[in-house]
């Protein structure tokens, strides 16, 4: 068991989300940074989409009431197990009574805390993610708070490396202060925007405003106007869709996206790049880079190849360990 001693607002239990209920008006939910979630689970040997904690702010503290293995990924956060500093992207052992402290984020905007077998919460409609708008899933359908007790789904294995394991990654996210590049496809109403708007959209930078959350990020940058005005019928929307409301400032729909929306859609960020937004913070700058379906598929394959390489390296390391046990 893990007791939450303190936790900032908006921390939730998330997995990869529930994808099959759009037609019922139920959004996906799920991790804002699915890459970090999968990496945490990979280091523990969990299923890729096991439920983890998503922590969007610092600080947070936890106490382990029994020996446990856990993993931390996502933002570098000055984590400490009692007084021992922990690396970013790390999985290892905690002894009963030890406390985990998560400090200020140095790079990135979300930390994922995974436990062996995943966080043991009920699977509802095919997922353990917290559906905040509908108040179900995850931990009692709500954000986490101090005093909550989280249970790992499985007992930790006796052969987990006592020193802990880590992974080295290619530079996935831009260092703080650099512009985040998001590959995107033109969406349904793309061509209804003026040439000036389209040139600005695909070349200028936009800043993430504080009016941003798991549902979407409101951006600030060059105003985008359309040649045609007038009301649109509502259409289905998904995470990654970039809408432009009347004020001309875009909104990117994210993990807790609604399923329908009536604002004109200028673009759709490809799914392989959405995790970058999960690690972005208000004030960060981003730029849209136009791609096509082939580009989107290629980006997806690159991501799959990265995970395949990481998984093979982890397996090879485990095989070698077993050789001298």
């Amino acid at each position: 068991m893990i007791e939450i001693l303190s936790i900032p607002p908006l921390a939730t239990v998330q997995d990869l989300g529930r994808d099959n209920h759009w037609f019922q008006g139920l959004g996906r939910a799920g991790a804002m940074d699915p890459v970090a979630l999968k990496l945490a689970n990979m280091m523990l040997g969990n299923e890729a989409g096991a439920a983890t904690l998503e922590i969007p702010l610092s600080p947070a503290s936890f106490r382990f009431s029994e020996d446990q293995v856990f993993a931390l990924t996502g933002a570098a956060c000055g984590a400490r197990l009692d007084d021992v500093p922990l690396p970013r992207y790390w999985a290892g052992l905690a002894k009963a009574g030890q406390e985990l402290h998560i400090g200020p984020f140095q790079q990135g905007g979300r930390v994922y805390l995974a436990v062996y077998g995943g966080v043991d919460v009920p699977e509802i409609l095919g997922s353990r993610s917290t559906q905040l708008r509908e108040s179900f899933g995850g931990f009692e359908g709500r954000i986490l708070r101090a005093g909550d007790i989280l249970k790992p789904a499985l007992t930790p294995p006796a052969d987990f490396p006592s020193n802990g394991v880590s992974i080295s990654l290619p530079e996935l996210s831009q260092p703080r202060g650099e512009t985040i590049e998001l590959r995107a496809l033109p969406a349904a109403e793309h061509d209804s925007f003026t040439d000036i708007a389209l040139t600005a959209f695909w070349s200028e930078t936009y800043r993430i405003t504080p009016q941003s959350n798991r549902q979407g990020y409101r951006l600030h940058g060059p105003e985008l106007t359309r040649d045609h005005v007038g009301e649109l019928r509502s259409h289905g929307i998904i995470p990654g869709i970039v809408q432009v409301p009347g004020g001309g400032q875009p909104i990117i729909q994210l993990a807790d996206s609604a399923t329908m929306g009536g604002y004109p859609k200028i673009a759709a960020v490809i799914s392989a790049d959405l995790w970058r937004l999960g690690q972005a913070l208000p004030g960060d700058s981003l730029r849209f880079v136009q791609t096509d379906l082939d580009g989107a598929r290629s980006a997806e394959r690159d991501m799959q190849e990265l995970f395949s390489t990481l998984a093979n390296d982890c397996k090879a390391m485990k095989r070698l360990q077993q050789g001298w046990r």
Binding site: P87, Q106, V165, E171, D313, A316, M317, L320, Q321
Partner: protein
């Protein structure tokens, strides 16, 4: 205070080369002075400089050594630095997977830092520490 107590004090003064002693208590003040020639010179113990114990931080696996502080959000380590027991000092990497090299005790790093990329086997000494006193 009895005469036996007094004898013990005088014996202890001679044995420890103490020529003057003042004892003050609520109901007693006692000053003892011994002639200089009645006090044995104190035997000088041979100076023994004990070499501090060296504890090794060993490789947890086969691979190449990767220092901490490059991409892990931690500060690089330096010789002379104090570290906590269990603290990550570096990594042994096999491809992208890494096992952590941890401090087996709390102490101060001594010796040389291993070279990044050094090929290492299971149990090889990578770093040494002097235990904290």
């Amino acid at each position: 205070m009895t005469s036996e107590d007094l004898d013990q004090l005088v014996t202890a003064m001679r044995a420890n080369a103490v020529s003057s002693l003042l004892v003050e208590a609520p109901d007693l003040t006692l000053r003892l002075v011994l002639p200089a020639d009645s006090v044995a010179p104190m035997a000088t113990a041979p100076t023994v400089v004990a070499k501090p114990a060296q504890i090794s931080a060993k490789s947890p696996g086969i691979g190449t050594y990767a220092p901490r502080g490059l991409d892990d959000g931690l500060e690089p380590i330096v010789i002379g630095q104090s570290v906590a027991s269990g603290e990550v000092l570096g990594y042994v990497a096999l491809g992208s997977a890494r096992q952590t090299v941890c401090a087996p005790i709390a102490g101060t790093l001594t010796g040389d830092l291993p070279e990044a990329g050094r090929i290492t086997g299971y149990g090889d000494t990578l770093l040494t520490l002097e235990p904290s006193s």
